[in-house]
């Protein structure tokens, strides 16, 4: 990790850490902690997706499906098989990773955006399975009676505990991704994104890397899905459909594709918009999303995160310049 990223990491961790203390005393905003739990879960999905989009240059329209695979794996294993939630989570992640691998091998060997097409179809298939396999998934009416998570024999019940748990996962995910990006593998990924043919000429196995990043993004989404399941204690297929896959894409694009911080920012911002600020538009909110995407694509193509350095004192950024993702 570069010095700049460490600074942002520490500052962000601090802000996230004190956030509940600031909002909880005020009644009208105290439920923001709950919103932030969801934002954290979505941020985890978006970090994985940002690795895929921003660094491997591929688009997946099935992140909600992988999110759902994690959610339903955790749900089904704990409800029907009484498995420990902490054991079910890696099972779901392994399943999601395996499915992504199967899907990625043919789709990513081809050049161009075949992955987008393949994942579009795949997302729909997964959603149909969730709706039809009533015996296991509960069908459209959902899966109920999912146990919560517990640490050391004590169930995590309080919203605050969930908040810190979920954001702990987010920061661990970020650390992991930063580590990957600042290694030889990360440099290779950026090279693929930049000039695929030239990367190949350097001896980079481009297809294999793209598959690996896709698998990684699926695993992130799946772990987020498991957290979601145990937090909600109830899941139904409508949380994992195409609309949600597109929501995840939007979050990453609005926040900024070329930066992991953009993924986090986008997830938080969009979650607040969806849950808090866009209620007035009711069914028309899709129009607002469309407008937002257009504005971002036209005026801030690098995402909102690219505007942040202008707001902050420039001292922090001067040491390494304002260039993005410097190794």
């Amino acid at each position: 990790m570069s010095k700049k990223d460490w600074w942002i990491f520490l500052v962000t961790a601090f802000l996230i850490g004190v956030f509940p203390l600031v909002v909880q005393p005020f009644r009208s905003v105290s439920h923001y902690v709950d919103v932030m739990v969801f934002a954290g879960i979505f941020a985890l999905v978006c970090i994985g997706l940002s690795m895929l989009m921003g660094y491997a240059g591929q688009i997946s329209i099935a992140q909600a499906a992988f999110f759902g695979i994690g959610a339903y794996s955790s749900g089904i294993l704990t409800v029907h098989f009484h498995m420990n939630p902490w054991a079910a989570m890696p099972v779901g992640a392994a399943l999601a990773g395996f499915v992504a691998w199967l899907l990625g091998i043919p789709a990513l060997r081809l050049k161009g955006h075949y992955l987008a097409m393949a994942t579009l179809g795949f997302g729909v298939i997964v959603n149909i399975i969730m709706n039809e396999e009533v015996k296991w998934t509960g069908g459209p009416s959902g899966l109920v009676g999912i146990p919560g998570l517990s640490i050391g024999g004590r169930e995590i019940f309080h919203e605050l505990a969930w908040y810190y748990l979920v954001w702990g996962f987010v920061f661990m995910g970020l650390l992991f991704c930063f580590h990957v990006l600042h290694s030889r593998v990360g440099r290779a990924l950026r090279a693929i994104h930049e000039e695929e043919a030239a990367a190949e000429a350097m001896g980079v196995p481009t297809a294999r890397y793209k598959v690996q990043v896709f698998v990684l993004s699926a695993i992130f989404a799946s772990i987020a899905g498991s957290l979601y399941t145990h937090y909600m204690a109830f899941i139904n297929p409508s949380s994992f459909n195409l609309e949600w896959s597109i929501q995840f894409l939007l979050m990453v694009m609005v926040g900024g594709m070329q930066s992991l911080w953009g993924a986090v920012l986008g997830a938080v911002l969009m979650t607040f918009m969806r849950n808090e600020w866009l209620h007035v538009f009711a069914d028309q909110e899709i129009i607002v999303y469309g407008a937002l995407l257009l504005i971002v694509a036209l005026f801030v193509p690098k995402g909102l995160v690219s505007l942040l350095p202008r707001l902050l004192p420039s001292r922090i950024f001067k040491s390494s310049g304002t260039r993005e993702d410097e190794s």
Binding site: R184, A188, A197, A201, G203, S327
Partner: protein, 243 residues
């Protein structure tokens, strides 16, 4: 070192290379010239594994490589300086060079050492090592592309139209670098449209026309050849207006 035996490459139904054969010996500088669409880049891409030939054999140091993917060919010792440079514009100069040493996974010291050697050799790159590669001038980018390729410590260096899009003076400089590399004992396959400059520094040359090798021989000999002079050097053409 490199032997290409009657290679046939297709793009779908288009027969791009119709039985091309060539040979590059150890320490030789061999050039391949030809007009647009003759199949020069197709041949390069076939050698480097970016396209697979339908028929024919490519042998590198005695072993067939025609069915290997590029990521297996690079470690065998072939490095490509791609057409149009194709540097990684949003990466720094230093990161570009490190990418060149990609195949040397666990040899950090070697990469560091090579990196310093490249920066010493091209002081302009040293000055700009922390700059994004996209901000370099065309000539500097070409130097970067060449040194990036050298970072993999190749046995054979393949240069695909290094003079493309460069000012004549810069082209001269790039050709000087190529000549220096040859004098250091490197084996080079140089693909060029600039026939005169390429043949001047090459040991041997091949002339490619519509997917076939139509002429081959020593560099200076080809320079004198009537066909080459007519087709590529613009001499001996019928004068329409007498000066």
């Amino acid at each position: 070192m490199l032997t290409v035996k009657s290679i046939h490459t297709y793009y779908g139904n288009i027969h791009a290379l119709k039985g091309v054969s060539l040979h590059v010996g150890n320490g030789e500088l061999v050039t391949l010239i030809g007009a647009n669409g003759a199949g020069k880049s197709t041949l390069v891409n076939t050698i480097c594994g970016l396209i697979q030939p339908r028929k024919g054999v490519i042998e590198f140091q005695g072993k067939p490589i025609q069915s290997l993917p590029p990521e297996s060919i690079v470690p065998k010792g072939i490095a490509l300086v791609p057409e149009g440079r194709q540097i990684f514009a949003t990466l720094t100069v230093e990161a570009n060079l490190q990418m060149g040493g990609y195949i040397h996974r666990h040899k950090r010291e070697q990469i560091q050492e090579d990196l310093h050697r490249m920066l010493e050799r091209f002081p302009i790159l040293n000055e700009r090592r922390q700059q994004l590669a996209g901000t370099l001038s065309g000539g500097e980018q070409q130097m970067l592309a060449i040194s990036r390729a050298l970072m993999s410590r190749p046995q054979l260096l393949v240069l695909d139209e290094p003079s493309m899009g460069l000012a004549p003076l810069i082209t001269k400089e790039i050709f000087k670098i190529i000549q220096e590399l040859r004098e250091e004992g490197r084996t080079i396959l140089l693909i060029e449209q600039n026939a005169r400059a390429a043949l001047n520094i090459a040991d041997r040359g091949y002339v490619l026309e519509t997917g076939k090798v139509v002429l081959q021989g020593e560099g200076t000999m080809l320079l004198q050849h009537q066909e080459v002079q007519r087709a590529y050097l613009g001499k001996g053409a019928k004068q329409i207006v007498d000066a």
